[in-house]
């Protein structure tokens, strides 16, 4: 279909009074300018490759009944809207914006408030979701969907969004070759980022704060997690970063601050954890016995209650050149590496692992005494669970 792209204006006193009318007459490559107003038009379905520009943040209201925007075409851009009050139902997952089986769809700078799902992508490729603010006030997992939900997609870019109050902030399942960059995900009920079966992805420079259970990355290989901040994920079974069945991945430059558990690893192998900061967590890392061949090097462990804990006695992972603030060794040859190895596993952390109620005795004199003596003459903790080159000074990270 050849022809010039048109410019259609929607608004009071303009050519079109509703977006639906404009969409009906529109064809591929047209641009819709939508002027400020509250548009209650039920379900808007976009079937052409149009550019829809909101001017002065017009409001699209789903009145609690409809999926507000459904995109069923390639090369669609929607930008500058306030999209609110999508329907609430658990069966067909109504969304603020849902993209069906499309590629090259851009969703820029929208504000999505109180929608069941915020932005939902399924079977999509090469889409960009950038600069959106997605907020909800969910209280229970069943009554709210995810902020950005991506399923069976490829080559997505999720950039600079703010998500809060949803079930999972960002949800990835079967999404490959994608990037999640500079987003902020906080106060979500379950995970800040929920990530499954999604290989070859990176997430970089995101902030995950005060989410119900932190961040979960599961059943995936070749993930890069770089320069993210995981902070204040406090609570029963809350983790800064939970890794489950992850292989061949790289974790670097992240900050883990004030989490119940900084990094929780289960069934992971061949992961490299380097140059991260683990500060003031309950447990710096919990490494389950099912993990192997992971490499933990050049990290700062500062102010954690327990640096490391594990539930096994076999040591299949390596620790090298980390800074541990609990290290009490010396450096006679002045090479900035401690001369005696450091045992990051405290006796009490093992006792607690086996017998959780004994946490009750935490910081009692008795326990400090036990720990001190164990540090000097290790008898119960695995002897080769050591960092052979503990740093004397913290790394600048």
């Amino acid at each position: 279909m050849l022809g010039l792209a048109r410019k259609l204006e929607v608004g009071v006193g303009k050519e079109f009074h509703s977006i639906k009318e404009a969409l009906l007459v529109s064809s591929d490559y047209d641009t819709l300018y939508v002027l400020p107003n509250v548009y209650k038009e039920g379900n808007l379905v976009i079937k052409h490759s149009v550019f829809i520009q909101g001017i002065g943040t017009p409001v699209l209201d789903g009145e609690g009944k409809y999926e507000v925007v459904s995109i069923k075409a390639n090369y669609v851009t929607i930008q500058g809207f306030k999209i609110q009050n999508s329907g609430y139902a658990t069966l067909d997952d109504p969304c603020g914006i849902k993209v069906y089986d499309s590629h090259n769809v851009n969703i820029f700078n929208n504000i999505l408030i109180d929608n069941f799902f915020g932005i939902y992508l399924q079977y999509c490729q090469k889409c960009i979701i950038r600069g959106n603010k997605i907020e909800a006030n969910g209280t229970e997992e069943q009554q709210i969907g995810n902020g950005i939900h991506c399923w069976k997609s490829d080559s997505l870019q999720i950039i600079g969004n703010l998500v809060s109050g949803h079930r999972d902030g960002i949800y990835f399942e079967f999404v490959t070759n994608s990037i999640i960059w500079r987003n902020i995900s906080k106060f979500n009920i379950r995970y800040g980022l929920h990530f499954m079966f999604s290989n070859n992805d990176s997430y970089i420079s995101n902030v995950f704060k005060k989410n119900g259970a932190g961040v979960a990355v599961m059943f995936t290989h070749k993930v890069k997690m770089i320069n993210n901040t995981f902070t204040e994920n406090w609570g029963d079974a809350a983790y800064g970063l939970m890794l489950k069945e992850i292989t061949d991945s790289y974790i670097s430059g992240n900050h883990f601050y004030k989490n119940t558990v900084g990094i929780f690893m289960e069934g992971t192998s061949r992961i490299k954890v380097e140059r991260n900061v683990l500060l003031s967590n309950g447990w710096g890392m919990r490494i389950q016995a099912s993990c192997m061949e992971n490499e933990v090097k050049c990290n700062n462990f500062v102010g954690n209650t327990f640096d490391i804990s594990t539930n096994g006695s076999l040591v299949l992972n390596s620790f090298n050149g980390n800074y541990w603030d609990k290290y009490e060794g010396y450096d006679l040859d002045k090479n900035k590496i401690g001369d005696i190895p450091y045992h990051p596993l405290s006796l009490f952390s093992m006792i607690v692992e086996k017998n959780p109620p004994s946490m009750l005795l935490f910081r009692s004199f008795m326990v400090s005494l036990l720990d001190k003596s164990e540090k000097i003459i290790p008898s119960l903790t695995p002897e080769d669970f050591i960092d052979n080159a503990p740093l004397m000074h913290s790394l600048v990270l």
Binding site: W234, G235, D236, A237, A238, K258, T260, S280, G282, G303, T305, I351, V352, K354, N355, P356, P357, S358, M359, L360, L361, F362, R363, S364, F365, M366, V367, S368, L369
Partner: protein
Amino acid sequence: MKRIVKFIILDILKNKIILFYTVLLSILSWSVFSLEDNNTKGLLSLLNVVLLTVPLFAIVFSTIYLYNSAEFIELLLSQPIRRSKIWSSLFLGLTLSLLLAYFIGAGIPILIYSPPDVGFMMLIVGFFVSTVFVSLAFLASIITRDKAKGIGISILLWLFFTILFDGLILFMMFQLVEYPIEKMMVVFTAFNPVDLSRILILLHLDVSVMLGYTGAVFKDFFGTKMGLFFAFIVLLLWAIVPFYISLIKFKNKDL
């Protein structure tokens, strides 16, 4: 009564040992707060001071003071004063002066450096621990006339509550690891004022969640207003009951 308490407090404050205690506490607290870069960490280091040094000093000092005031007690007894008044005055005098020493030595740096809610808790817990161990000292010193024996008993009491009791609990936990013992443990902690105080402080620090992590019972119980109330009631009982027993004994004691 006020007059006697005043005399006792003045007498104790003239004592160089209580001065030493105050200075020791303040050296410990100021150095802990200025050495640790993080005030919460400083508070945690101070926790051990409060839970070890304070009880030890309170119980030993009080016991010795009571034995040394035998003359004073005798002198007062021949005067028209009720026996319970004499004993209570001694208790009040000792407690108040130890609280004062604790407040000046540790309380002021705590209030200056630490976050207000935890600091306040630390202060209160310190007050309670001092009072409880003064109370225990009264019990120890009424049991026997022999000064050496009395001091021995008080040191044993201290040792029991600060170290042995925890060892016992740890042992029990491992024996009963198969059973759901969390609830029992909550009850058990009530039998040790030191443990109870420690848990109260931990619950007010960030590590509280870790207690919750290991067994929701602790958090659900001690974390609530009800639990806090219960904990304070138990501490109060610890402060009153040993003294009360000693008071009854003192009333019927031949001097």
